[in-house]
């Protein structure tokens, strides 16, 4: 089937999409956007988090056909030109990135949190990131990064 979807502000088209395929596969394998990561394909790790019509979702749990006619924003769409989003910058500065596999999903989840809550409390940060797993950092630096980004925005 054909899927027309706006990704990071650009109209994109994919043909011969398998009907049971996920939005994550569509983004990574057909549209050349490997930012969102594939780790579990069952909604548990959050590394595939993207905005679908401004709502953060696990791209692995959205059928590609469900994204037809909708707007997707991936981690690739957060930076403006060469300028990183403050959340991305804060992750780098705070040392919140080790292997980096979880980072795109966490960045999108944190970005959404700060859009909704300008100065989140620690429990609010933990709750907002509860759907994102990281095997490397132990989360402390990630919390630091979100606090830093909140202060700067």
């Amino acid at each position: 089937m054909r899927v027309d979807v706006t990704v990071n502000g650009e109209a994109r088209r994919a043909d011969d999409v398998w009907e049971g395929e996920s939005l994550l596969f569509l983004l990574r394998e057909r549209l050349g956007l490997p930012g969102a990561k594939n780790a579990c394909e069952q909604g548990e790790c959050g590394s595939c988090t993207v905005y679908l019509d401004d709502v953060p979702v696990c791209a692995c749990l959205v059928a590609a056909g469900q994204a037809h006619g909708r707007e997707v924003r991936t981690v690739e769409g957060l930076a403006v030109g060469d300028e990183l989003d403050p959340v991305q910058e804060a992750f780098v500065e705070a040392g919140a990135v080790q292997c980096g596999f979880c980072t795109p999903g966490l960045v999108v989840a944190a970005h959404d949190l700060l859009n909704r809550v300008a100065a989140p409390s620690d429990p609010e940060i933990r709750e907002a990131l509860a759907g994102n797993l990281c095997r490397c950092t132990g989360y402390e630096k990630i919390l630091d990064a979100v606090r830093l980004a909140a202060r700067r925005r």
Binding site: M1, W18, E19, G20, S22, E41, Q42, G43, E44, G46, T49, V55, P56, V57, C58, C60, L61, V62, A63, G65, Q66, H68, A109, E127, A128, A130, G131, N132
Partner: protein
């Protein structure tokens, strides 16, 4: 495989009648896991996310009609006052990403014994509005769950909405799992006080082939409360009453040993959950009896 994309409920029903084996997909948080792991290869997917009628809720004459496609995040944000039990259960579902996408209709469609909406729906006299090209059928939640992952829907039917009376008394939901986020319940419990009817409703999840009411516990507690004139002048509940209530809730279960917990643990945990949830609900009633109408 076909991917069917109706824009209206009428179109969706016509497609479902034509393709009874098409699998509806709403939030996809159950369906996509099955597809990604090749546990299921349906002939067709029927995407319900374009059907605006399913993504709305409304309230009339004290009854909320919750469209099957309203995600948990919106139940939490918009219906915490009218449906406190369902909102409490919704807060415990998965993670923010799952709650942004997953729906009560999908929970009912999957009919997992561990689904978090179910115990609540059983305690608040919820009615499932099943629709097909043939018409509408109202199925009380108490008759909806038929077995493990089996519900009362016919092959041509979709869930349009769930009808749930606005809360007229305290409601609580709690569940046991290994962490706070992202857990399928080891066991779960819901309670709703119905002061106007001098009645308590209680139900358990993940502790039997289907979610179910704990009838003996309900009757025991309702009897005790009425006998002690507690509805009119609420006082702290005697510890033996709370304990006995917990024991009777645990006795309603037919739990099994599985990867998430043993039968013995589930029984023990249910008794604890029931005792605690009753404590919270009763405290709420004592503190805010006037808010709940005080109609007794």
């Amino acid at each position: 495989m076909d991917f069917l994309r109706p824009d209206t409920l009428a179109e969706a029903l016509a497609l479902k009648a034509e393709h009874p084996d098409a699998v509806p997909i709403a939030g996809g948080t159950d369906v996509m896991v099955e597809l990604n792991f090749d546990h299921r290869r349906p002939a067709a997917l029927l995407d319900l996310t374009r059907v605006a009628e399913l993504r709305q809720w409304s309230e009339r004459a004290g009854v909320v009609r919750l469209g099957s496609g309203v995600p948990y995040a919106r139940v939490i944000d918009e219906l915490g006052g009218a449906l406190p039990g369902l909102a409490a259960a919704s807060r415990t579902v998965g993670s923010p990403q799952i709650r942004n996408r997953g729906t009560v209709g999908g929970n009912l469609g999957a009919a997992s014994p561990a689904g978090d909406a179910h115990p609540v729906l059983l305690t608040v006299d919820a009615v499932v509005e099943a629709v097909s090209a043939r018409g509408t059928r109202l199925i009380p939640a108490t008759e909806f769950y038929l077995g493990v992952k089996r519900n009362a829907l016919e092959p041509d039917e979709l869930i349009a909405a769930v009808l749930i009376p606005r809360a007229r008394g305290p409601q609580q939901f709690c569940k046991v799992g290994t962490r706070n986020a992202m857990v399928i319940a080891v066991c779960s419990f819901a309670i709703a006080l119905h002061p106007a009817a001098a009645r308590v409703a209680a139900a358990i999840g993940s502790a039997a082939p289907t979610p179910r009411r704990a009838s003996a516990a309900e009757e025991f507690l309702s009897g005790e409360l009425t006998a002690a004139d507690q509805w009119r002048s609420p006082r702290p509940l005697p510890e033996p009453v709370r304990r006995r209530f917990g024991e009777l809730v645990a006795e309603a279960a037919s739990p099994i040993d599985d990867v998430r917990g043993t039968a013995a643990y589930r029984g023990h945990a249910l008794a604890v959950l029931a005792r605690r949830a009753l404590g919270w609900a009763w405290q709420d009633y004592q503190d805010h009896r006037d808010r709940w109408g005080g109609s007794v």
